[in-house]
């Protein structure tokens, strides 16, 4: 066994008293990352194992606007042992005097092919959807049932068809594969839609064909074959290998994001780790100097303390791993039941290994500099006092620190799978640490200077507080760093959340329409417009023909090859046609076709999206509409503003190009909120097939989703704050001895306990306020950057959460500081001072 290890082992006999903060910080950081990793792996495992259930089959072929044609059906029947056809579209559920948007799933007898639907009362799906007393049955999401005040046995209408509600749909097995919907679910039998008028020509709907494949089918080969044959006709393939790509991507992203937050927690913990090691080594100056006197070289001493740190780190990481593995396992039944998709939470060695790796690397990074300074301790410290530990360590340690930091950021970037966010987070954390360090330095300097001014004359408590903050061994840096980082994240969340809500709540509705009406049949347009014109509350109406299509090729090459993963080529897009550009349209390049144009098909494309994809005037684009390919030349670019929720189409074609294509009309209606209910009622009553999407409702759903993300982030920030608080307590505890001594001297000189307490309180409050103010500034800058550059919106400073942050910072430091002021206040000066001699 090496001598360095032997010395380390002997040194650690002193116990772990001085290392509680070290262990807590490391364990908390590792536990957070391990728990997030375990959850993420569990969800991924669940999605992978239950792929067929989520998808509703082993594979799915999806079409927009149409059902599968004979060739496609023949192909499905050939490869699958069972096929189920499902229609998916939006409509209005209507009751006597009320209506609500719903996402309808019209199924056949085979649904669900895999998994099981849970109904309340628990009756079979076939029975629930069957026709009884001349009315087809329907099942609904409990949220919608409550919204429409329905109960089983009541009737409602979809389009012109009356349905009877038979049960609540408490679990929809294939809900996760559909993704985000604006309306809650209603399930009916597709046979019942025949007379509803909802699937009329041009209506917007999707058909999904779920396939059960023979055991051992080669999914990859089948996908390639299907794509080759049918992709250009607008078919989209999904299979159980990646049944819910949206959820998987979301879980992956949120998981990676939370790991990054965990790393930020480790960074905060790192401040505590570093402070704990520094304080430990400060207490070891005498030992180190003695070792040097006896002939120990600097390298041996460094290795010996490195061993000690390594042993402690292994212990801290082990505690973290146990916590990070056990907590999710204990909570597994609760978590699995609350998720809308399957999760299988088990021990995940990969996740534990990743968190252990991060823990070890962070521990090394944050202890390296204090450890390296041990080399600089001179034996003369034995008789002269002072440690000499504040000097810079040798260059090789600085180089090692740089390498380790790059390794940590590099591995986080690589392992997270979201390099931009990881690098951004690393930059953010480093930037915040730098700003906070500078702020702490500034605070200490200012306090030192202020303590020497006339202002503090006659105010010994104030002077003592300021002097303590400005003193060479002040814990101001630890406090500002540890508390400031967590508060900064919280401040940023507060600023961004408020600004987004402000933008949604006040800015958007003043510019946005009240309703989108979709699925207006062409022959309904004139009476619809007449009704709106007759309503004095309606201030503006815009209408446009609406089709949906998939861009399959650009300049004869597959669109995805040219445009990559750009959202415009990802799925089907809304397409319109127009004879003239319209009064609000601004053509940025090229020329819009003449009003009576009948030549080769032409496209006017959105400027910004064209730039992103790299499109030029004269490029050709093939769009599959209702299974038919249409190739057109781009002859102009238009400015399209998607931000006001008004009408915006990426592609406008000339009218001749789409002559005869079945389509419906879309209308945006602008009206004040108080007129909305009446408009909605009159439209849905007159034309039950027309679907109304209330912008206010849609915005509420988006705001809800944003709120959930803000809450999740705030919780994550709270996790960082807990670590920060541990560091704070550690700093306060470490300073207790010095405060006892200080208190003893002050008492000897005649200070009352109240005076001493006020000095200690002022000291804590000043440090907390500094951390809070810096956090608010950092949060404000982040908020401004996100609103300006990411959201393309305006930023206004939000004072309420900012004040909360500063007050919170003060309270946290006061709490920690005053708790550790009790002993100093009660200690008798004689005993304390005698012990110091």
């Amino acid at each position: 066994m090496s001598l360095a290890f032997t010395i380390a082992r002997r040194e650690l006999r002193g116990g772990l008293r001085g290392f509680r903060v070290f262990l807590a910080c490391l364990a908390l950081g590792v536990a957070a990352i391990a728990a997030v990793g375990t959850l993420r792996t569990g969800i991924q495992q669940g999605l992978a194992d239950q792929g067929s259930v989520i998808l509703g089959g082993d594979a799915e072929m999806r079409f927009t606007y149409r059902t599968a044609d004979a060739d496609e059906r023949a192909y499905m029947d050939r490869i699958a042992t069972q096929v189920s056809e499902v229609y998916d579209f939006r409509s209005m559920a209507l009751v006597q005097d009320d209506q609500a948007l719903t996402q309808i799933k019209a199924v056949d007898d085979a649904w669900p092919l895999t998994g099981a639907a849970q109904l309340d009362p628990p009756i079979p799906v076939i029975e629930a959807l069957a026709v009884t007393d001349g009315l087809p049955g329907a099942i609904m999401d409990p949220v919608l049932i409550e919204r429409l005040s329905l109960k089983p046995g009541d009737t409602f209408r979809l389009g012109t068809q009356e349905f009877r509600l038979t049960a609540a749909l408490t679990r929809e097995p294939d809900s996760a594969s559909t993704g985000f919907t604006l309306g809650p679910r209603t399930v009916v039998h597709s046979d019942a839609l025949g007379d509803s008028g909802l699937l009329a020509s041009g209506s917007m709907y999707e058909t999904r064909y779920r396939l059960v494949l023979p055991a051992g089918s080669d999914l990859q080969a089948l996908e390639e074959q299907a794509e080759l044959t049918f992709r250009d006709k607008g078919m989209r393939w999904t299979d159980s290998r990646n049944a819910a790509p949206g959820i998987e991507a979301f879980v992956d992203r949120i998981g990676s994001f939370l790991v990054l937050v965990g790393l930020a927690g480790l960074a905060v913990g790192g401040v505590g780790i570093s402070a704990a090691i520094r304080s430990y080594l400060d207490g070891k100056v005498e030992t180190i100097a003695t070792l040097k006197t006896l002939g120990a070289e600097g390298g041996l001493i460094f290795r010996s303390y490195l061993w000690q740190t390594a042993i402690l780190s292994v212990l801290g990481i082990a505690i973290g791993l146990v916590l990070g593995a056990v907590v999710p396992l204990l909570a597994a039944p609760l978590i699995e039941a609350s998720l809308p998709f399957p999760a299988e939470i088990r021990l995940s060695p990969g996740a534990l290994l990743e968190s252990a790796f991060y823990g070890a690397l962070s521990a090394l990074i944050f202890t390296l500099l204090p450890l390296a300074r041990t080399e600089r301790i001179r034996p003369a410290a034995l008789y002269r006092g002072g440690s000499g530990t504040r000097t810079w360590p040798r260059k090789r340690y600085l180089a090692a620190l740089a390498v380790l930091s790059v390794a940590l950021i590099g591995s986080a970037t690589w392992l997270s799978g979201i390099p931009e966010l990881a690098l951004g987070a690393a930059g953010g954390v480093l930037g915040a640490l730098l700003i906070l360090s500078l702020a702490a330095l500034g605070l200490r300097k200012a306090a030192r200077r202020l303590a020497r001014t006339r202002l503090t004359h006659g105010r010994p408590a104030t002077r003592a507080a300021l002097a303590a903050i400005g003193a060479p061994r002040s814990d101001a840096t630890s406090v500002v760093l540890s508390l400031g980082l967590g508060l900064s994240v919280l401040a940023a969340v507060g600023q961004i959340d408020w600004n987004l809500r402000q933008a949604i709540a006040t800015d958007l509705p003043t510019r946005a329409p009240a309703f989108f009406f979709v699925d207006i049949q062409p022959d309904q347009l004139d009476p619809f417009l007449a009704m709106m014109d007759a309503n004095p509350a309606v201030t503006e109406i815009e209408t446009a023909p609406m089709l949906r299509g998939v861009i399959t090729q650009i300049n004869g090459k597959p669109a995805r090859e040219v445009a990559g993963d750009h959202w415009v080529v990802r799925g089907d897009r809304g397409i319109t046609y127009a004879a003239t550009p319209g009064p609000k349209t601004r053509i940025t390049a090229g020329e819009f076709w003449p009003e009576d144009y009948t030549g080769d098909p032409q496209i006017s494309f959105a400027t910004e999206e064209a730039e992103e994809i790299g499109l030029q005037l004269g490029d050709t684009m093939t769009v599959n509409i209702l299974g038919r390919d249409l190739t057109a030349t781009i002859t102009s670019f238009r400015e399209v503003d998607f931000s006001n929720a008004g009408m915006g189409f990426v592609m406008t074609l000339d009218p001749a190009a789409l002559t005869g294509a079945p389509h419906t009309m879309i209308a945006t209606v602008y009206a004040p909120p108080e007129a909305e209910a009446q408009i909605l009622k009159s439209v849905t009553k007159t034309w039950p097939n027309i679907t109304a999407i209330g912008i206010r409702e849609a915005v509420d759903r988006v705001a809800e989703a944003l709120g959930a993300i803000a809450t999740a982030t705030a919780w994550a920030a709270a996790g960082t704050l807990i670590t920060g608080f541990v560091v704070l307590i550690g700093a306060a505890a470490a300073g207790e001895r010095a405060r006892i001594y200080e208190s003893a001297i002050l008492k000897t000189l005649g200070a009352t306990r109240g005076k001493i307490l006020s000095s200690f309180a002022l000291r804590s409050a000043l440090m907390g306020a500094a951390a809070g103010v810096v956090a608010v500034i950092a949060g404000g800058i982040s908020g401004w950057a996100v609103m300006t550059f990411v959201m393309d919106s305006t930023y206004r400073f939000e004072p309420v959460s900012a004040i909360g942050i500063v007050v919170g910072g003060i309270l946290a430091t006061l709490l920690a500081g005053l708790f550790f002021a009790l002993r100093p206040l009660n200690a008798r000066p004689a005993g304390t001072l005698r012990a110091q001699d």
Binding site: E11, K292, L294, A380
Partner: protein
């Protein structure tokens, strides 16, 4: 060594200076000390507090680096060595005893004494440490920690630790300063006994006249300089 060819001094300081940075600017601690100490000699450094006695001792042990002049120990220039070279040099050549003992609190008496031998790579470090502790009368307290021992016992452990590598030079900084009369006397006896048994050169800082009186030579310091009568002796 013969009468006609004087041996090289064990310690030789030439115009040794020490200036330290203080809060209020540089402080000149030693202002040019020149003296020699020969093999087997016992030298007492005396003088008022703050005169630079301990600093001078630390320069001799390479525990402090001179900011001017030269410090030779066993013919080697300590001022030219880096920290690690100094540490290696001390291992076999020097033993240091402090007023505050400076035992490592997490190590037992035995481990404290064995440590310099372990550092020097000696294989039977623990056997030799046991013998040394027995020699200073602590055979029964070997496995006790410093906190479990009295001041006198701790200083005996420190003595054993300084003597166990059989160094050519023993440096002691007020070794009895923290002890009562009886314990102080016992430590003095032990210290001089060690010197007699192993033939080491002993330099000690002391305020105790009776301790100084037992030395072959006494050097008096005042305000960072050798006092006039010491100058004459130092030149000897």
């Amino acid at each position: 060594m013969t009468d006609s060819v004087p041996a090289l001094p064990v310690l030789a300081l030439t115009d040794a200076r020490l200036t330290l940075a203080g809060n209020a600017g540089p402080v000149e601690i030693l202002k040019g000390i020149s003296l020699s100490v020969h093999k087997g000699e016992t030298v007492g450094l005396v003088g008022p507090s703050g005169s630079g006695k301990s600093s001078l001792l630390m320069l001799m042990g390479g525990l402090e680096r001179a900011t001017g002049g030269k410090v030779l120990a066993l013919g080697q220039d300590l001022t030219a060595m880096d920290e690690d070279a100094l540490a290696r040099f001390r291992r076999g050549n020097m033993g240091v005893v402090f007023q505050s003992f400076h035992l490592i609190p997490t190590m037992t008496a035995l481990e404290n004494v064995a440590l310099p031998l372990e550092l020097a790579g000696v294989t039977d470090a623990f056997a030799r440490a046991e013998a040394e502790l027995t020699a200073v009368g602590l055979g029964s307290r070997m496995h006790h920690y410093p906190s479990q021992m009295s001041g006198g016992e701790q200083q005996r452990v420190a003595l054993a630790r300084a003597a166990v590598p059989r160094p050519a030079i023993l440096l002691a900084d007020e070794p009895t300063g923290n002890l009562d009369g009886v314990n102080g006397q016992a430590i003095m006896d032990l210290l001089f006994g060690l010197r007699d048994r192993h033939g080491a050169t002993l330099v000690l800082v002391t305020h105790a006249p009776e301790l100084a009186a037992r030395c072959d030579r006494v050097i008096r310091l005042a305000d960072g300089l050798l006092a006039p009568e010491a100058l004459a002796k130092a030149a000897e």
